[in-house]
Amino acid sequence: MKIFVLIKQVAAQGSVVKIDGDGRWVEETNLVFTANESDNYALEEALLMKEAHGGEVVVCTLGPERARQVVKDALAKGADRAIFFRDDQFADLDSNALGEVFARILREEEFDLILSGLQADDTGEAELGPILAQKLNLPHVTMVVETELPDGVIKVKQELEGGWFRFVEADLPALLTIQSGINQPRYASLKGIMAMKKKEIREITMADLGITAAELSAMQSITRLYIPEKIKETTFIEGSAEEIATKLVDVLSNEAKVI
């Protein structure tokens, strides 16, 4: 099993974000960055597959210098080597262009699986996986919550809307986007961190791709980013205990749709 895992570095959950001067991204200076949540699950799934079937796990990250942290973290957790797309010219690419960048390098490699998280927590697009699959002409399954690897194929359980699931089988090589919660991601052990020092991180720049920044021009861009304004609305339900209970159930099931 040779498995590539795409890992993005994003602002940690719970960060207090401020919109930057441009109004098109957030101020990054005081943010804590970490690996995207569902990507952690993708990495763990790959490591579990490697532990069960042997092989190699390669982590692929695109981002600014600070993203080296998630690369090293993945190596410390047990990935064997890394490909780090590290070039300022990669900033501001849209999903389609990102897909092209990854595809250029992955076409040179042999692999059985590419795993990514379901979506990046910062942009929330959930596009890169399917786009990359398309460019590499691979079968893909999104929102994967279970995997199984019988000979030569991958069997997965896919989450659908409204509590439905379906079981999908795909030929290898294939691309899966992994849903959070599929497994229990490990911590990097101290020995893993010490071993990380000796692992290879291959750095890729625009020049390595045989492509120019112009050819990757974005087909979509962020025009404005804003924090939703809070509108507070408190509804008081009045009446006897029984009436309140009936109305509350009605509100929860029909308006809030939580029960």
Partner: protein, 394 residues
């Protein structure tokens, strides 16, 4: 060395991260994540019930947190002193009891076996201890012997094929859960020697001490040595004289000097958040100058303590660290953490005394940390003697 974007988590006002390697920063991250995921969710329950979270022991072993500084051939991760310091900081950010467990296992038990033990002793104990399969405790203090270990009374009498130990130890961390006790006793020539006493040796027992208001999530015990026969194979051959146990204490004090920074960080982080969220007089209490002064005091003292600990770590890595410098850091950093905890307690108002917030637990813990491994006063006297040349102990 790392660049500015690769940072330790939490308080780093002086950009200490720029002085740390990527590995050191990752070790801080992984320890912080471990504590957030495995320790913080369960620590209050253990604190309330005065129990040690024993369920964490195998996990600590898997993570490599036990004996992290010793060579890989004995199960260690070969951490440098700064990385080991950061690990202790993060563990104590969880709870001083957890850090105490790891310090005792690593600095007070694995260190003497590694430094003074025979090859067989190292092979037998160290790998198992690094996995958490064998737990150690360190018995120096006695009912009548605290700050002055020179006066220790536990006797070791030579027999034909070993030693017979008689005496009582008190305040021994991990005692009742330990598989082995490193016991310090006086022989017939008045020499202090170190022994590995195994839990099932005849005449050995380790009753639990209950009713602590501090380090409640840590096991503290008496060790009763009622004519315990210890075979020659269990004597630490290199440990003769008081300098042997004192060298272990220097290791443990070093880990405390870092550890308490974590407790202080927990108090500061909780305070900063609380002060921004708690509204009184129509605004966050962080708007008041008196509150800001508390926060700034904590931040300043934490930052100074970090820099001191870091410098000591680099000295230790170069083999240049003097025990008096460790006393300086233990004394200052524990005091600073205790003051931070006290200020944090005030700042949280009534919420400062309930265990929904970590502050009171840390404040209570730090009372014991101030006393053990050399009281605040003893460290004053150690440094005092160093700078004046005049010992003021007796």
């Amino acid at each position: 060395m790392g660049d500015r974007s690769f940072r330790i988590r939490g308080v780093d006002y002086a950009d200490l991260s720029t002085l740390l390697s990527d590995e050191e920063i990752l070790i801080q991250h992984t320890a912080r994540e471990f504590v957030a995921g495995e320790v913080l969710p369960i620590i209050n329950g253990h604190h309330r019930h005065e129990t040690f979270p024993g369920e964490l022991i195998p996990r600590l072993g898997e993570m490599g947190f036990l004996g992290a500084t010793i060579p890989a051939e004995f199960g260690g991760a070969e951490l440098g002193a700064v990385a080991y310091g950061l690990l202790n900081q993060e563990l104590e950010r969880g709870d001083s009891g957890l850090r105490s467990f790891v310090s005792v296992q690593t600095a007070l038990c694995m260190f003497p076996i590694f430094t003074y033990g025979s090859e067989e002793q190292k092979q037998r104990w160290l790998p198992a201890m690094s996995r958490g399969e064998a737990i150690g405790c360190f018995g120096l203090t006695e009912p009548d012997v605290g700050s002055n270990p020179k006066a220790l009374k536990t006797r070791a009498v030579r027999t034909t094929d070993g030693w017979r130990l008689t005496g009582t130890k008190m305040w021994i961390t991990n005692g009742s859960i330990a598989d082995l006790a490193i016991v310090w006793a006086r022989d017939e020539q008045d020499q202090i020697r170190g022994f590995i006493v195994e839990k099932d040796f005849n005449g050995f027992s380790a009753p639990l001490m209950k009713g602590k208001f501090s380090l409640r999530a840590s096991v503290t015990s008496e060790l009763v040595l009622d004519g315990v026969v210890v075979p020659d194979a269990n004597v630490l051959p290199g440990a003769v004289g008081l300098s042997a146990p004192l060298s272990c204490l220097t290791q443990a004090r070093y880990s405390i000097a870092w550890g308490v920074i974590g407790a202080a960080m927990a108090c500061y982080e909780s305070s900063l958040k609380y002060a921004s969220e708690r509204i009184q007089f129509g605004k966050p209490i962080a708007s008041f100058q008196l509150t800001q002064e508390k926060l700034v005091w904590m931040l300043t003292e934490i930052t100074k303590a970090q820099l001191l600990a870091h410098q000591l770590g680099r000295l230790k890595e170069q083999g240049q660290l003097r025990f008096q410098q460790v006393s300086l850091a233990k004394r200052n950093n524990v005091w600073m953490a205790r003051e931070c905890a006290r200020l944090a307690r005030e700042l949280h108002g009534a919420n400062g005394i309930i265990d929904e917030y970590p502050v009171m637990r840390h404040l209570m813990n730090l009372e014991a940390v101030l006393t053990y491994e050399g009281t605040h006063e003893m460290h004053t006297l150690i440094i005092g003697e160093d700078i004046t040349g005049i010992g003021a102990f007796d």
